[in-house]
Symmetry: C2
Subunit: 206 residues, 2 copies
């Protein structure tokens, strides 16, 4: 039997709730396959932008490695990109991770950590100018629900992280498992990475 | 200017992550209208079924009142329905709340607290037999994304709580505001309470 993959979800003050808990809902329902760990600058409570606090279980600098590294967005990402110590740790963890993922403006954090250089990526459509400015050499894709480039997966805003996560489950365990995970949560999976109702000519690009 | 409505989200050990954080994502992005508070049996960290812990900010018994009372589901609900002290507090808070809502098997908790007697309600389709058995006098609706009966709103499984919450925002602040909240999270709102892809003849009813 295959060992469970450790999923390290990074949190920082004023993270976006659904960026974090949408993906963890799906992954966390398969504890034999995915073991979740919340990574903070230090251990303890970290407040979301919406108010509620989550408990960080491991400090970034004390986390030896994770199988899947996930970085959410939220308004706090604009401050977090200037935390060079945290970005150094994210870079270290990403280098050995099997998959590196971002949700929403988390792509701006990956970019500033030097992890999206010359890679295709996407991000939130309502914060597109800011997020894309964090990665001048990144090939930003404006019309995408999520983008995969090698082992790097980046999603559009907030709830797009759920669709990307199901696609990641499909990549690792097959699409039947991903459909099962979606149905368990009574969630209608948009499984087409190019189907982005929130971008394009009639869309939200700022 | 109208005062913000306090939203009290109840948590208990082994709650379902998305039941809690889907609704709070939408409500929490309007802090002038909705003030979130996490209610536990006591204050402090409460672990979800998926692993991560949330911080309960107020004990149920020490919470004087909330404007909107929300009760999530998750496997822990099967134990929580036997916590008569907590159910008594939920009943007390519900009696004075402007709206009483459940997500997923949270309807089983509301039922056991005596809050769904002779009311129309729905719940998770994968735990339908258990949840409905908690309310013998409830008029359970098997095919519904969510059900509104007076000030009582109950949703189907997990992600259905997000669609119900957007409908509640529409009820309070108009549908334009609800659409705005959905778009902000790049979420495709199923705004038809009768459109339930997870029930009916081809569905999941256990």
């Amino acid at each position: 039997m295959q060992e469970a993959i450790t999923v390290g979800m990074v949190v920082f003050p004023e993270f976006e709730l659904l960026d974090v808990f949408g993906p963890l809902e799906f992954l966390g329902n398969y504890p034999a396959d995915f073991q979740l760990i919340i990574l903070g600058e230090s251990t303890g409570a970290v407040p979301s932008i919406q108010g509620p606090s989550i408990v960080a279980e491991s400090a970034l600098s004390e986390t030896p490695e994770v199988g899947i590294l996930m970085v959410p967005g939220g308004i706090g990402s604009r401050k977090f990109v200037n935390n060079s110590e945290a970005l150094k740790e994210i870079h270290r963890l990403a280098t050995v991770a099997r998959y590196v993922c971002s949700i929403c403006t988390g792509a701006g954090i990956l970019a500033r950590a030097g992890l999206l250089n010359n890679k295709r990526a996407t991000t939130n459509k309502l914060a597109y100018t800011w997020a894309t400015s964090q990665g001048p050499s990144t090939k930003w894709i404006p019309h995408a629900r999520w983008v995969q480039d090698g082992n790097t997966w980046t999603s559009a805003g907030v709830s797009a992280g759920m669709d990307m996560t199901l696609a990641l489950i499909a990549e690792i365990h097959g699409s039947e498992r991903a459909q099962e995970a979606a149905i368990y949560a009574e969630y209608t999976w948009n499984n087409d990475p190019n189907m982005d109702p929130f971008a394009g000519p009639a869309g939200l690009l700022d």
